[in-house]
């Protein structure tokens, strides 16, 4: 009787340990789904050139950009097809957690708040932040102190907004939902400067003679952009990191950045 009891408890312990260790391995349900369907579904928000933006390719509406090139490489490494889903930036992480997409690539900074709901790959691109002003004012803004009491724009709910609040002391923050609207305000002298990511800023400077980048130093403490994966899929994160390592080693990501910047210069 005692012996039987011990046996049962022992069995139970073994079963529980195995169960926990399997769960601890990260289940990898997303990976299984990708393998089953042969498709990697990537969520992105197609209004953030040069990371991802819409373009007509052979007469068809297509999303292109740095992130899309990276996604193509990841799909290639996994030997599956790539499918892009374009949604609102705000809704990206929830469609990841409801399994509507497998991964999210959208120039997303892995900040603490987002890390609570999803896992991130390693950082694939360290975007530096830049301060953009009107070309005629370029000489006026050299240090952070020059922006004191000036109106500085940033996109609502982004890392840049945090930068204005925390690093530009005395600057008045103007946050709007869309970068084009902020650029228009800058051009029309409604704001004096604009904090944006460098690849985005250089796109605007290249396409607009009346805009210029300053040397005002601003830092980004989230480190750059990473790929988001649903929690509990460590095998998928590993797979993505492997692809990213390869891309970074071969300098392909810098090439993608350059390509994306050249592709959509309209002049």
């Amino acid at each position: 009787m005692m012996k039987g009891m011990l046996k049962r408890i022992f069995c139970l312990i073994i079963v529980v340990t195995i169960g926990i260790s399997i769960a601890g391995c990260g289940g990898g349900e997303t990976m299984k789904r990708i393998e089953k369907t042969g498709k990697l579904v990537v969520g992105t928000s197609g209004d953030y050139a040069p990371y991802e933006y819409h373009m007509l390719v052979d007469g068809k509406d297509t999303i292109v950009g740095i992130d899309i090139s990276i996604a193509e490489e990841i799909a290639k490494d996994m030997g599956v097809q790539l499918q892009i889903v374009d949604t609102d930036f705000n809704g990206l992480l929830s469609s990841l957690n409801t399994n509507k997409v497998d991964i999210v690539i959208a120039g997303m900074n892995p900040d603490e708040k987002r890390k609570k709901s999803v896992d991130f790959s390693k950082i694939y691109y360290e975007a530096k932040q830049g301060v953009m002003v009107r070309a005629e004012d370029k000489d006026k803004y050299k240090t952070v102190a020059d922006l004191k009491d000036k109106k500085v724009g940033a996109q609502l709910g982004t890392t840049q907004e945090k930068i204005v609040k925390e690093q530009l002391e005395g600057a008045n923050l103007v946050s709007l939902g869309k970068i084009p609207d902020l650029v228009m305000e800058l051009k029309n002298k409604k704001i004096d400067a604009l904090v944006v990511e460098l690849p985005v800023a250089s796109g605007y400077v290249k396409n607009n003679n009346d805009l210029a980048l300053t040397d005002v130093p601003v830092k980004d403490d989230t480190g750059g952009s990473a790929i988001a994966v649903k929690k509990g899929n460590s095998n998928l994160v590993e797979q993505i990191n492997k692809s990213l390592d390869r891309l970074m080693k071969d300098g392909l990501i810098d090439k993608f950045v350059q390509e994306a910047n050249e592709k959509n210069v309209t002049k």
Binding site: H54, M55, D61, Y204, T266, K267
Partner: protein, 221 residues
């Protein structure tokens, strides 16, 4: 000003314009259906119907369309599916919100149109043996239609313009597509200028068309 991007991005203006027109037509049709129901409830003699219709009209007209659209979008959650490349899980709540909004205005248009028909018409119809419903259907409504149609045309114009608010829930109508282009070409102003022209052409030609129809109706008196 540099419009060189048009060669690459014209498609977005075209598809956006088509979607805007489709949305406007659907909204007006649904809005008329809702509006007729609400208007009939409002002029009925049933107190409950009257109260429901009045509160509907007051509430919808007293809150901004932007708020209504975002509310409907969060309240109605549909599975993702596409028809003609349109994301229905966004399109359907958007059109419903627009229709519910338009319905309140249409209801007031219809009510005013019906009440503008001389009371004697209804009384005469009743006195020769029509029921209330028959009199409304065969005598009053056909005459009310003449008052209602021009105002409905104006509502169509309003809906075309207001549908631009749908861009906040990423329905790819004209305004949303403009935002896409603005972001892609790094030039915010030019796409917006083109969009303004497109909206104007749409509404202006519609107003002209309505003016023509109105004149034709008057001559048929």
């Amino acid at each position: 000003m540099d419009f060189g991007f048009l060669s690459e991005y014209w498609y977005y203006f075209v598809s956006g314009t088509v979607n805007t027109i489709v949305i406007a037509i659907l909204t007006v049709i649904l809005g008329v259906i809702i509006g007729t129901g609400i208007a009939l409830m409002k002029i009925s003699h049933n107190k409950i119907f009257k109260a429901v219709a009045s509160s509907y009209i007051e509430f919808i007209r007293g809150t901004p369309l932007l708020v209504q659209i975002t509310l409907f979008f969060y309240l109605i959650s549909l599975p993702e599916f596409h028809i003609f490349g349109l994301e229905m899980e966004r399109f359907i709540p958007g059109v419903i919100a627009m229709s519910v909004n338009s319905g309140a205005y249409v209801a007031e248009i219809i009510r005013a149109g019906i009440q503008a028909v001389d009371k004697g018409q209804m009384e005469a119809a009743r006195s020769i043996g029509f029921t209330q419903g028959q009199a409304m259907r065969y005598i009053v409504l056909p005459q009310a239609l003449r008052n209602i149609l021009p105002a409905l045309g104006n509502e169509f114009v309003v809906v075309i313009k207001e549908s631009s608010v749908l861009s906040v829930i990423s329905i790819s109508e004209l305004m949303r597509n403009t935002n896409i282009i603005q972001g892609a070409i790094y030039r915010p102003f030019e796409p917006l200028a083109i969009t303004a022209v497109i909206y104007f052409v749409l509404t202006f030609s519609l107003t002209r068309l309505l003016g023509y129809a109105e004149r034709r109706m008057r001559t048929s008196d």
